[in-house]
Subunit: 155 residues, 2 copies
Amino acid sequence: MAAEVKDAREEREVWSAYLVQHGLKRSEQREAILEVFLRTENHLSVEDLLQLVQKRRPDVGRTTVYRTLKLLSAAGLARELHLDGETRFERDWNREHHDHFICRACGDIFEFKSDEIEKLQEEIAERIGFAIDGHRHHIYGLCRRCQAKAAASRR
Amino acid sequence: MAAEVKDAREEREVWSAYLVQHGLKRSEQREAILEVFLRTENHLSVEDLLQLVQKRRPDVGRTTVYRTLKLLSAAGLARELHLDGETRFERDWNREHHDHFICRACGDIFEFKSDEIEKLQEEIAERIGFAIDGHRHHIYGLCRRCQAKAAASRR
DNA sequence: TTACGTGCAAATACTTTGCAGTTCC
DNA sequence: GGAACTGCAAAGTATTTGCACGTAA
């Protein structure tokens, strides 16, 4: 859809600006990693990203992926998630804040957002004088599909 | 308070039962680790726990702490938390479910609980046919004290 | 007695860092 | 030309496992 294309363009601009502002250079590896990161479904582990990038450019090293993900995060393009100890990255530019459902069977991740929950959080924080600057709300369980599978195999 | 003492007694019973049911043995190291774990404020890292245990018994090894924490978790006495990548353990027997505020400055952790938030979670899950079996809700920011400190040093 | 528990050292997994050679500007 | 970038190998963390020895039941 058009929005995606536009978003990606904006993200590339942010990236360029970030590089310039920090006296950093462009490189083919970084471009390749950025491309894959922007084009791919979310919630990638470092290993996932490395595999995908290496399909195009087998010479890109794991180290560079780590380093580039750091930069993408610093530039506000990526966001790091810690799911039960697993580290993953998702796109974070111009994206509404959201949280995650994680299926324990297939690992699929579903995003959700609730203004009501955020408001309640804020109220509780006020009561104890806590100034919120971010949060992670991860809900674990079984997705619809895996529930069906489980039910089927039980018969 | 009385409730604490009673809880700890109950936890020791659960522990004993767990050992028996699984054909495991009592040991001085395990007892020492359990004691410290039960007596201490929550949210310990493995390293924290090791240090505390070694004050009493310098011969207890890190490996045993890891192994005992696994057992305590399996017995339902401990719960593992992943705070922004950091692994910590808290008591989990007879404790109401709760979530956490984490101060980014001093690292202090405050617990909270909200039936309303849980209910909203449940509603959202229903909408996408997701069967919740647990969640982690971590809120980051500054605690009252650290806000005051920050304000003071800004002058 | 015998299966379980322990600490150490080694192995694993994940991530960062030092370095020598390469590339961008 | 010089600073930044890269991949590799080495070094760090965090955690688990193999093993020979010790200990509870």
